[in-house]
């Protein structure tokens, strides 16, 4: 049984990289968003269980999405996948409720490890 | 001709690998033939490798160098600055550079060029490269390139360019500013005075009976007089005053931040000094005098040319009133000497 997954990143290639790294059985129930506003809309209207979120996006960025999720009190496991890997940023996203911070470019085994650690696999 | 077969230990379908010992020999020979210093430091900044170039160009021996801190081996190095630079190589794993244009040299190595240069030391371009050994320990490789020639020729070129620039500003005979440059300077001072509401005065001066002097004593005498009088006047001026040759026997002085009173006082001093100084030509004593016109920048002058005109007409007045005197643009009184 695969959970509903949302991948949010403004880069097509980055979305493909995440998709490629997902476990096979998850690949069928994946939605995508190209910016923060789109992601929040999808999150609000659907029950998304796992979110893979980029930080540097134009408009509402990753931080904005995390804040939105907190405000809407959505039940969603967020994994931030980002190019901005500074320790302060990592701490910030964790403080805003993200389960993990994963640095780009994402690798399949790293992703799967994290999912296992958080009991999603 | 190299026997390629013996150099390669295996010929696989994918790539050739050079025999290890050949590689080592080539490296050793290159490292020691290069006209560049090679030094390797460990992460504590101790010297672990140095090549023949350095051995030759420093008066030091390996036993005093290898294993020692670079700062003990070369006490002339700016320690704090260099530590920061070396740290950046280790921490960021990126190269950094120091060119002779920023610091002439880091290591005090006497240069060996067959030319006399401005410095006894070799001018250097240094490159700092991050390297790792087989066990992934970090080191810094310093390349020291001798660029004494480049540095020397570059500064020669610059000196020549500077001379050229100066020549185009200076009057050949008297060595004071030529008219073009003097006028440019006046233009700038004028603009400055307007912008910052500062005072500005101008003295136009002229040698009295100069044509007569030339006719009686010849042009060489005339030239001598021009040179001497210029020197006399220069000595009485402040650093900020701008003195130039305006015409054949006409000179001009720009006096920044000076009012009319100050300018007149200076003009009178100059007038007295020239009159009091005897010049000698062919064993004959010459008495030379000058006339001076003074004007101060006021709201009437809308351009620097207008200021020149006012000073000039004051000069004309001084001539008309008998020469060897100073007249100012608002001339009610003249100062008559003797």
């Amino acid at each position: 049984m695969s959970p509903s997954v949302l991948i949010c990143d403004d880069s097509n290639m980055a979305r493909k990289q995440v998709l490629k790294s997902l476990p096979e059985q998850w690949k069928t129930s994946v939605q995508t968003a190209t910016n923060g506003a789109e992601a929040l809309t999808i999150l609000r209207d659907n029950s998304v269980e796992v979110l893979f979120l980029d930080l540097t996006m134009p408009g509402i960025d990753g931080i904005g999405v995390l804040q939105g999720i907190q405000k809407l009190k959505l039940d969603c496991s967020v994994f931030v996948i980002s190019a901005d890997i500074q320790p302060e940023m990592q701490a910030k996203v964790k403080a805003l409720g993200a389960k993990e911070f994963i640095r780009k470019p994402v690798k399949a085994d790293t992703l799967i490890n994290h999912l296992q650690q958080h009991g999603l696999l | 001709m190299l026997d390629f077969e013996s150099l390669t230990s295996s010929v696989s379908t994918e790539k050739l690998t050079l025999n290890e010992s050949v590689f080592e020999q080539i490296n050793k020979q290159i490292a020691n033939q290069l006209n560049t210093g090679i030094m390797v430091l460990d992460s504590e900044f101790n010297i672990v490798v140095w090549n023949r170039f350095l051995q030759i160009h420093t008066d030091k021996v390996s036993v005093d160098i290898l294993g020692k801190s670079i700062f003990h081996a070369f006490p002339e190095l700016p320690e704090r600055w260099l530590i920061r630079k070396l740290a950046s190589v280790l921490q960021l794993n990126t190269p950094t550079f120091c060119s002779w244009e920023q610091r002439h040299h880091l290591f005090e190595l006497p240069h060996t060029r067959p030319i006399t240069t401005d410095s006894e030391f070799m001018a250097q371009n240094c490159t700092f490269l991050p390297i790792e050994d087989d066990s992934q320990q970090k080191f810094i490789c310093i390349l020291i390139e001798d660029v004494t020639d480049v540095c020397h020729y570059q500064s020669q070129l610059q000196k020549t360019l500077d001379e050229l620039a100066t020549m185009s500003r200076i009057d050949g005979l008297t060595q004071i500013y030529n008219r073009r440059h003097w006028q440019e300077s006046l233009k700038q001072e004028f603009a400055k005075a307007h912008r910052h509401d500062k005072k500005l005065s101008l003295i136009m001066l002229d040698l009295d009976y100069f044509k007569l002097l030339n006719d009686n004593y010849g042009h060489q005498c005339g030239d001598m007089v021009l040179i001497e009088v210029s020197a006399l006047i220069s000595a009485l001026l402040r650093v900020e005053d701008i003195f130039g040759r305006y015409g054949g026997e006409e000179f001009a002085i720009v006096l920044p931040e000076t009012n009319l009173m100050g300018a007149i006082e200076l003009a009178e001093r100059i007038c007295r000094k020239v009159a009091a100084t005897s010049l000698v030509y062919n064993n004959e004593r010459l008495e030379v005098t000058i006339s001076l016109g003074v004007a101060q920048l006021s709201s009437y002058e809308s351009s620097y040319e207008a200021l020149i005109t006012h000073a000039d007409s004051a000069l004309y007045q001084a001539k008309a009133k008998g020469r060897n005197q100073v007249c100012s643009a608002k001339c009610d009184e003249t100062s008559i000497l003797d």
């Binding site: 290639m13 490629k20 302060e88 640095r103 | 600055w81 960021l92 794993n93």
Partner: protein
């Protein structure tokens, strides 16, 4: 980006590679400066020689420009220009951790430019399985004529340039600099090959 004739996929791929390189470079920079670097999405545009000169000469404030050549395998090479506004260049020695007066103004600019350029290009190179070497950075005279002379005298013919607008904002300091990568057409062909190789993995 049409002048490069990059497909949309190639553009997207390149932008992503640059984002990742920026992220890691900023992190390295932040650790080295012992501060936090605010990262914005770098925008990329292609410009031709005339446009570049025009836009640089239209800058109202005096600018300082540091240029550094880079070269990697597979013909991927070029020159990186880092352009600063005059007012930003004053605070850099402090930022770099030197005592005031320990470093001349020129040296400060050159040092930080080298750090920005090499950390960024190193990471970028790693992502495309390449490795970069660098020339010593040079501070160009800020007069306009000298800049165009320099651009004309470059050893390769470049017609196109990739302008990556990077805004570095460091806590307590904020300075702007634009990185302009001048890449000859032959190198662009090679870059496209690399991008295609990466895209083929998906």
């Amino acid at each position: 980006m049409n002048k490069f004739h990059l497909t949309e996929d190639q553009q997207d791929c390149l932008q992503e590679l640059i984002n990742v390189a920026m992220g890691q470079a900023s992190d390295q920079l932040a650790r080295y400066l012992d501060t936090f670097v605010y990262l914005k999405v770098p925008s990329i545009e292609s410009v031709d020689a005339k446009e570049l000169l025009q836009s640089l000469s239209q800058q109202k404030n005096t600018m300082a420009i540091v240029s550094q050549g880079f070269f990697g395998y597979e013909g991927i090479r070029g020159e990186a220009l880092l352009a600063y506004q005059e007012e930003d260049s004053g605070r850099i020695s402090d930022l770099l951790g030197y005592e005031p007066g320990e470093l001349s103004k020129d040296e400060q600019l050159i040092d930080i430019s080298s750090i920005l350029t090499t950390t960024f290009l190193n990471v970028f190179a790693t992502q495309i399985d390449n490795q970069m070497s660098y020339n010593a950075p040079k501070l160009l005279p800020s007069v306009q004529n000298s800049l165009s002379e320099h651009l004309q005298q470059m050893t390769f013919n470049w017609d196109l340039a990739l302008k990556v607008n990077i805004n570095y904002q460091v806590t307590d300091y904020s300075f702007n600099c634009n990185m302009i990568l001048l890449i000859p057409e032959t190198a662009i062909v090679n870059i496209k090959n690399v991008l295609d190789r990466i895209l083929a993995e998906f």
